[in-house]
Amino acid sequence: MADIPESWKVPPPKAWKLSTPEELVKDVDHRPLSLLGLEKGWMRTAPDVEIKPGMHCHAALPKRLETVDMPNPRQWSAMDEDWKLPRNWKEIILEGFKDRLGRFRSFQLFMDICVRCGACADKCHYFIGSADPKNMPVLRAELLRSIYRKYFTTAGKLLGPIAGARELTLDVLREWWYYLYQCTECRRCSVFCPYGIDTAEITMMGRELTNLLGLNIDWIAAPVAFCYRTGNHMGIQPHAYKDMIEFFLDEIENVTGVRMSPTFNRKGAEILFITPSGDVFGDPGTYTCMGYLMLFHELGLDVTWSTYASEGGNFGFFTSNEMMKRLNAKMYAEAKRLGVKWILGGECGHMWRVINQYMGTMNLDIAEGSKLEEPVSPITGTKFENTKSTKMVHITEFTADLIRHNKLKLDPSRNDHLKVTFHDSCNTSRGMGLFEEPRYIIKNVCNHFYDMPAGTIREQTFCCGGGSGLNAGEDMELRMRGGLPRANAVKYVHEKYGVNKLACICAIDRAVLPNLMEYFVPEVDVTGLHEMVANAMILEGEKEKTVDLRGEPLPGREESE
């Protein structure tokens, strides 16, 4: 549909094939040692550390790095013997390490205070699904801590391995890279850590360091480069972005008989709407995008879309804090240029962690002199007081408020064929606390909702297996292993209640979960929340509806032929 450059879609290597779910879990054994524990410890790298196909992503192509002026652009692959590093790579890493220790209290503190109690060990979805002991959060952090101790602590310098310190070698760097890109920064471990040690912080710092040497993965570097130039991860140019939305309008008209007329880059609109470009490009996100369009139309909302700020997501977040800031800047810049009063944000996970915990801090300067003000719903008059500084409202906050005030005509029976469960996204859960808004909406737009078991939802939710830029194709085994805990919980409610729909509020989820479901629980399909809202909505002047947005027949309203 959209003009995604062919070069971005790199096929997985031929030698590697994903095994069946049964084979995948067969050898998973979470006891990394024999009873006596005589094996060499974890500080040994080669030959114990082997970069396996299916468990890592392709290396960033040089042109991605060139677009955004990142160091050491060159053709390379993780499987290569020679990673084509600059001669002084070790100094670069150690200097970068020192610099970050001085800039992030989290990093310095988390290097120092871990007691290795192991409370985090079995909380990581990658450890659960792979049993690779270096995927235990504590050990992922120790990979960096061992270097920290060697070069930045007296005990480590004097005592070496006895103090848990080791030399920074090429093998250690490989090991870092392999495991830093096997962490989705989901922060589940940090919920259980008695000191709040957050592996995401450590992974982010580690990834910043690998980026100093040009060691990004293409699935992150490509969206970053695209987003920088075209405004969105998919590289959709302005005219194509408009085309895509217009295609949705045709689809909506086919289903509902109502023609909508969204506007783009319109100055003087009250609200700027920003959503991940995944919603505009990829199924099933596209149906969620149609949902937004229908909702805005039905409310007569004075809202505009932007082709410049056409990305809610931010793969810069997975690269470095500077890159996150560079990409995020477009939101306020565009809000100011268009003179909108506030910004409404679509369904996305990491986008919302960035907005909730980083955006104001990074970029609120840009909004100075703009017309942005404390968001108020023009439909209900509700002041979104929790957004008064950042001036950006989550669409589930907005819609929940509408439903609460009876501003939407809903017929939940239109979703009667659905038995729904809800996947809490990592970032909106542990970086925000958005639990009730989506559940309130779901319960109002469908009649059959079943939560997954405690321990797998809300703040203890599991990652989809492909967050933080790991949702590529070539690392499918990693994704399936990491997605296993989520799939297992879905399977439970599927078997117990007949759940057939997995709802989520994250564009990466919508891209990743369909593969995961197909692999482990093929009876369950994935949907965005606003797709369900739109399907339940009774539009002004709609025709007799017989199908939903996907063209699937509505229950009890099948077309008589």
Binding site: I113, R116, P194, N356, T361, T382, A400, G431, E459
Partner: protein
């Protein structure tokens, strides 16, 4: 570094640490007639105390000087959003937006080990069927260990104050509640031993724990176990001369140090190990005691959408402006009917 090597190293270190005062205070005088009580009773404890306080201050100041660029609390409950969505006490504590909430969250974390209390145990069944069960053993052992340690420290105030603070006898009374024997048996001493033994066995028997454990994990366990052991020995078995010991300890705190006669070598071993613990503390993982207060995922409120958090080093960055974007795509935008800031350049202007 595997588990065996770690155990040998830390076990060896503790044996050496026991041997040093034994040789110095017991063997040397008997064999060579050299007396070193002043070193182990006065100099080393003072040094250890200095290292302890200076070291902790140094570490904490170093952490505190580090900026907190972003407000990154781990949110463990519903956020404060719409007025009708429940935001009660549980939410205020696990996803705070106010200072009071943060203080409450920190109190729960520091005094009750809130996060550890959440702990679950994963059970990986056949066919990838995973279950999560509540698992409170680590929490229980940690709570017992830390509170017993606190009680023991407070009980020891008996040796460092005259008159004693009012709470010391009360603590002794409570701690010796079950009066089985004379002298009164303090439960804390035995409970701490049990908790430490559990923590040690857990490290040894759980393969995951054995894999991640370093000598730096076994060493403090052995050290505190030995300190507790020597203390228990002195109190119940090889009765120490409490009056002389109090003379020494009061001398230390009043800065008029004396070395009374008749104090057993066991006491010097106990005191030396405590000194080692004090001196080791600031350079070890034991600093988690101070660090937890500074942890940005726990001590910050989730209110950065309400109040702007300032990053002291917020870096200037190069961004792709709208103007540059429009320059890239102007013709296509005009063709698609999208509004533009500048009209397309006339062919003549292109030169």
């Amino acid at each position: 570094m595997n588990a065996i090597a770690s155990l040998i190293l830390s076990g060896g270190a503790i044996s050496m640490l026991v041997a040093i005062p034994f040789l110095a205070v017991w063997v040397l005088p008997h064999v060579y007639g050299i007396r070193l009580e002043w070193l182990f009773g006065i100099v080393i404890p003072y040094l250890a105390a200095i290292i302890f306080f200076v070291g902790i201050i140094y570490r904490v100041v170093k952490w505190a000087k580090c900026p907190v660029p972003f407000r990154i609390p781990t949110t463990c409950a519903q956020q404060k959003s719409l007025p009708w969505i429940k935001y009660g006490y549980a939410e205020k504590l696990d996803n705070p937006i106010s200072t009071a909430g943060v203080v409450g969250r920190m109190i729960l974390e520091v005094l009750c080990f809130r996060s550890l209390f959440r702990s679950t145990k994963m059970e990986f069944g056949a066919g990838g069927n995973i279950k999560y069960k509540s698992s409170k053993w680590l929490w229980l052992a940690a709570i017992v260990f830390h509170y017993c340690f606190l009680v023991i420290i407070l009980r020891h105030l008996r040796f460092f104050t005259d008159p004693m603070p009012f709470f010391v006898p009360i603590i002794e009374k409570v701690d010796g509640f079950f009066q089985f024997f004379l002298p009164v048996v303090y439960q804390s001493g035995f409970l701490i031993g049990a908790a430490l033994t559990y923590l040690l066995l857990r490290r040894l028997l759980d393969p995951k724990l054995r894999y991640i454990s370093l000598p730096a994990d076994y060493f403090p366990l052995f050290l505190i176990l030995t300190i507790a052991g020597t203390g228990i020995l002195m109190r119940y078995v090889l009765k120490a001369d409490v009056v002389s010991i109090k003379e020494l300890t009061m001398g230390l705190v009043s800065f008029r140090p004396v070395v009374p006669e008749g104090i057993s070598v066991l006491f010097y071993i106990h005191l030396f190990l405590v000194s080692v613990l004090f001196a080791y503390f600031p350079f070890s993982k034991l600093m988690h005691v101070a660090g937890v207060f500074l942890s940005p995922t726990r001590n910050l409120s989730n209110n950065s959408r309400i109040v702007r958090h300032i990053n002291p080093w917020n870096p200037p960055v190069k961004i792709h402006t709208y103007e540059a974007y429009e320059d890239d795509f102007r013709e296509k935008m005009i063709e698609a009917g999208l509004p533009v800031e500048k009209e397309a350049a006339l062919p003549a202007d292109k030169e």
